[in-house]
Symmetry: C2
Subunit: 371 residues, 2 copies
Amino acid sequence: MNRKIKLLDIAEALGVSTGTVHRALHNHSGVSPMTKTRVQQMAKHLGYRPNLAARYLSSKRNLRVSVNTLHGTTSFWDEVRAGINEEAHALVMENVEIEYRTYPRLGEGEEEAFAAALKSGVDGIITFPSRPQALHSCMRRASRNNIPVVCVATDAPNTGRLAVVSIDTLASGSLAADLMGSFLGGKGKVAVTLSSLAITEHAEKHNAFASTLQSLYPQMQLQEAVEDHDIESEAYEKSIDLFRRHPDLTGIYVTTEASIPVLNAARDAKMLDRITFITTDLFPSLVPEIRSRAVAATIYQRPRTQGRMAFRVLHEFLVEGECPSFQVTLAPHLVMRGNLDFFLKRQSLESTPKLATRQQSTSPELVEYFG
Amino acid sequence: MNRKIKLLDIAEALGVSTGTVHRALHNHSGVSPMTKTRVQQMAKHLGYRPNLAARYLSSKRNLRVSVNTLHGTTSFWDEVRAGINEEAHALVMENVEIEYRTYPRLGEGEEEAFAAALKSGVDGIITFPSRPQALHSCMRRASRNNIPVVCVATDAPNTGRLAVVSIDTLASGSLAADLMGSFLGGKGKVAVTLSSLAITEHAEKHNAFASTLQSLYPQMQLQEAVEDHDIESEAYEKSIDLFRRHPDLTGIYVTTEASIPVLNAARDAKMLDRITFITTDLFPSLVPEIRSRAVAATIYQRPRTQGRMAFRVLHEFLVEGECPSFQVTLAPHLVMRGNLDFFLKRQSLESTPKLATRQQSTSPELVEYFG
DNA sequence: TTTACCTTCGTTAACGTTTACGGTCCGGCC
DNA sequence: GGCCGGACCGTAAACGTTAACGAAGGTAAA
């Protein structure tokens, strides 16, 4: 590798000035088509790569990104936001400001928050499209205005979004199926609870679960999927109904965060100890259920890492102009009673603000956990 | 948050020049003790944080870090190196060069590689201390010379190392125990194979496995640990012996990468289908064993992420002067036949060089996987 | 007193990119 | 011809930090 190529090298090679080279490379006005192509070709020929430090230092514009998530202390979104913050502080040289826009409930105020972000002129948006169809027009508008949008956890297809960060649905569903089969000795009747088959991720998890169960444990029977539409009462009612119709059910895979109503339904139906539960995510009220082994295992979706990756992709696009990948899929973590404490310690540590851990370097034995 | 504080602000507040401020903040010579403390206090008072872009741009020194790992195409170390490379390209603005020093076998040439790195005057070292005691004096020497050392996978205690990046041993051992108990229905006789109880990580995994098994599945019996000292023939011989002494063995947790000899011993002893295997790591020859369900599950140690984190910690220390954390522990991934394909796809993708995936942005549907 | 040297600190030119400003040239209008 | 406006391009001052150089003051040796 030779010396680094800079703007001046290109300029001298062509007998022009750095200003012209800069305008040509950035498609700014005031440069003839002829010289523009000459500059671009020479840049490619010399292998020019911009010096980001100089770029940061010179441009005083600071990037603004809006993070639109569910309001409140849902542990999932708290950790997503924490991950975004972490990566922002690690990657960036203080010229990015993050604006958080939250909405109270699924689908309520989501579109308004997105529109507000657009109107305020942010440079990029990280969002959770809980109702992809509701955000559709908004996101297409962003796409037309060249505002990059990164989706977290749920994809919004055909909206021109820049990228999506999520847990690999195939790995999740297949792991759940393989575990379920192993736990149950390869036989029995199982069911899947999900939010809605209209959500791509849930449908994919369900498919993966079904096909892996079919191929690895052909003796097991899978019942039809139960849709709860993210409504707790609906989850409870439909579970009760499921247990009534299938008293011989031995396993349930809950792909939504609404596992508590299903557990309560099983408890009320006196079937809790006969059913092997595999759930999704990790939140406080689930902890005692794992400890009591009511839940055999839960599939942790690593919200913190999702947030980190979302910011990372967006930042790289804003800075370099290229997107490292348009679909980032993470491997899920498996949490059982055995390793539960590890994840709880991890969550409690991450709730302490990063700055605090920075300054108290007087206790050098501080342990920090990464997802 | 007010305007950003720069060197000039501190200088003007004290009536000195930026040069003096710079020297005072960096403990350079040529500043009276009096003004040095005044500058440092004022910097803290104003909340000064250096502008890294300006720092990168100004200093033409480029950081050199040496990466000392096992030679050859061990999939584990290949991925560690890939992770280091990835993070180096993502984090840094082209002023870090990485020198790879490899040694052929465990403990052979390890010390020499370390000494060579020290002598060539690198700014930091990432290493895998396979024989911690052999590296002890070298690492203490590095510590005296203020050369930061980051250990990957294995810790080297009491050597003054900057940080260690590894899989959480407690989570690994406990997860293995919980899975083993679940798979075997809470009863049976199990054993653990490890490299040596003298290696901290292996001893910790063994302890975690034992205590979790004891507390969650008190009916199960755990045999004494088998040490193979990283020698394949020893692993085979001792396994044969183990099976002869315990014909009723129903499960083995292999914490080392040497799971193939143990599997072959079980095969030769005609006990393969009676024993539930939980192994460690993921490498090509293990794949068919997982597919055939000879191995029920393997605990993936995420070498790529270990490499990423190691570089990240080292880089942050070299640049900011502070270490984000002195012990980074990762949650292991669980690989079973159901989600095996996900990890294989991930590995194959990561072997393609990063630059290639960058340029072929003509296929925008490229999927990239993160650990 | 001169010379030499050290400590302490100010001055200033880099580093590579961005961007505002000003210059030149050319065509067309009064 | 004088004037105006636009297209195209060069110039130079930022951005904040680093580090080499030099100046001022003092101390000690010649």
